[in-house]
């Protein structure tokens, strides 16, 4: 397969397949299995390490994902912010810190699920695939931030136009084909995660009440047999 065909597959065909799957299956699952829209909390089974894994992971990934959306939606404003090196450095260090929080938290989540037999039992193969994807995704994101700074600026310049071209149904892969393989891996895995989203516990982000981000902590326990 030539490089041109491979690029067309990875950055045109795959994104549309993943986005199509995301919208179709998310709606289908909500209509057919509404009660499966849950993160299936395992806090009751093990709560010693739970906090140290889940809290950094969630706050980390929420901020990092929001940052990607901002760069996608308002790239010009972001570039204006970055036009002073100090502001650029503050933004990049903050983004890296939240990326590291995600990685630390996610590693904690995986170690906890491997080390606690009770939690391991309720972990499905889909969960393991998702954890592996997220771990590679977070690792490649941090590597990109370190090896190819400044991501916030080149994302706004190159990735935002590419993503908009996908949304406008006139894909322009020239923005992405010349990127280093680690950045390409990050892009491809992002689309794969979007496509895999409706089949995983990630669906809980669509139904979770917003005040969960700042409410007081509460102890969760299962009601009924498991």
């Amino acid at each position: 397969m030539s490089q041109h065909v491979l690029d067309q597959f990875m950055f045109v065909a795959l994104p549309y397949v993943c986005l199509f799957t995301f919208f179709l299956m998310t709606i289908y699952r909500y209509r057919m299995q509404s009660f499966s829209y849950s993160s299936l909390s395992s806090q009751f089974l093990e709560n010693k390490h739970h906090f140290w894994a889940v809290v950094p992971f969630h706050y980390g990934i929420l901020v990092v994902t929001a940052g990607h959306f901002v760069a996608f939606l308002i790239p010009r404003t972001l570039l204006a912010w970055n036009s002073h090196p100090l502001r650029l450095y503050v933004l990049e260090i903050t983004a890296l810190a939240f990326g590291l929080l995600t990685f630390i938290g996610l590693t904690g989540v995986i170690v906890r699920r491997l080390s606690s037999s009770k939690v391991r039992i309720v972990t499905s193969p889909t969960d393991w695939i998702l954890f592996a994807m997220l771990l590679i995704q977070t690792g490649s994101g941090i590597s990109n931030a370190l090896v190819y700074p400044w991501g916030s600026s080149w994302f706004a310049t190159s990735m935002a136009p590419y993503l908009w071209s996908i949304l406008k149904l006139s894909p322009d892969v020239t923005f992405v084909t010349a990127m280093p393989w680690m950045i390409k891996l990050h892009v491809v895995l992002a689309f794969l995660t979007i496509g895999f989203f409706p089949f995983t516990r990630l669906v809980h982000v669509l139904v979770i009440p917003n005040p969960y981000l700042w409410r007081k902590p509460q102890v969760v326990r299962w009601y009924g047999r498991k």
């Binding site: 065909a13 090196p85 260090i93 890296l96 810190a97 499905s124 193969p125 400044w150 923005f175």
Partner: protein, 303 residues
């Protein structure tokens, strides 16, 4: 989860995998792979867009060789193959490709999107026709000969850092490039360090021509629609010329500092989370018990 449950779980995904595979194949079928016939009219535009940053026809060498009479120096078939996949020919160890790669100071010609056989033939026809003219329209650009001033260098630095916006909306150089003497964490590293770019591209003329239409695959799509203005090129070249005698900054120091700052902030955030929710278990349970005992004075005390 038992192995039976696991296999049942995976089986449920099977129809989905098959559907996805079918969709991928269908989409691949719709893609315009290698299509597109080049018209004779748009060939000069294509040359202007993608080739003039590195080549002239009769105006002397820039980054790439002067293409005047190139068909007398090399066979048409070889040139066509090289234009369609320059990296592939260089990587194959072809002696002529390696020679021009060395002469271009190891700046490889990029693989251009849309460089079909039809397009290549039309480009070669254009080069052949332009070579016969006394003065080709691609002889070269009118580069400013004004001497550089301190103000030019200062404005070039402001453009590089992004303090001064590029008029057509292009991205500031610092996003992807570094240069010696930048503050704190330095510039970007997606592209090469530009401290020695003035020297690397052999001076004012070549560097200015490069900046008129940057030829790398990463820069091309950005600056195709947001080209630099002549006065911006003048000041940027002045800035790069001033740095030509310096040594490039070490990226390792900046990377380690950046990582350490990120780690410090992430550890601080973990401490903040812990102090915010340090009573997460005792606090919740105690409150529930207190609430229960307040309602029922005779109920048992918390253990």
């Amino acid at each position: 989860m038992s192995s039976r449950q696991s296999s049942r779980h995976l089986l449920r995904l099977q129809p989905l995998c098959l559907t996805l595979l079918a969709l991928c194949l269908a989409l691949l079928d719709w893609l315009p792979l290698g299509s597109g016939t080049a018209s004779a009219q748009d060939t000069p535009d294509f040359f202007r867009q993608y080739c003039v940053s590195c080549h002239t026809i009769g105006g002397g060498r820039l980054t790439g060789p002067d293409l005047k009479n190139v068909l007398q120096r090399q066979k048409r078939e070889w040139l066509a193959n090289f234009m369609m996949d320059p990296r592939g020919v260089i990587d194959s160890g072809d002696p002529y490709a390696l020679k021009i790669f060395e002469e271009a100071r190891k700046v490889p010609m990029p693989n251009l999107t849309g460089m079909t056989r039809d397009r290549v033939e039309k480009l070669l026809d254009l080069i052949e026709a332009e070579s016969k003219l006394e003065k080709s329209q691609f002889k070269g650009l009118q580069i400013s000969n004004k001497p550089f001033t301190d103000e030019d260098r200062s404005q070039g630095r402001e453009l590089f850092l992004g303090h001064r916006r590029l008029k057509k909306g292009g991205t500031a150089c610092i996003s992807c490039h570094s240069v010696q003497g930048l503050p704190a964490l330095g510039g970007g590293r997606l592209g090469p360090d530009l401290t020695k770019v003035y020297e690397r591209l052999k001076g004012r003329k070549s560097l200015s021509a490069w900046l008129v239409a940057p030829g790398t695959e990463t820069m091309q799509p950005i600056f195709k629609t947001h080209p630099l203005e002549p006065d911006e090129i003048h000041t940027l070249v002045a800035f790069f010329e001033a740095h030509a005698s310096e040594q490039p900054a070490s990226p390792a120091v900046n990377r380690v500092t950046f990582l350490l700052l990120g780690l410090v902030l992430s550890c601080t955030l973990i401490f903040v989370f812990d102090s915010l929710w340090k009573q997460r278990f005792t606090g919740v349970r105690r409150a529930l018990v207190e609430q229960y005992t307040a309602k029922k004075p005779n109920s048992p005390q918390e253990h």
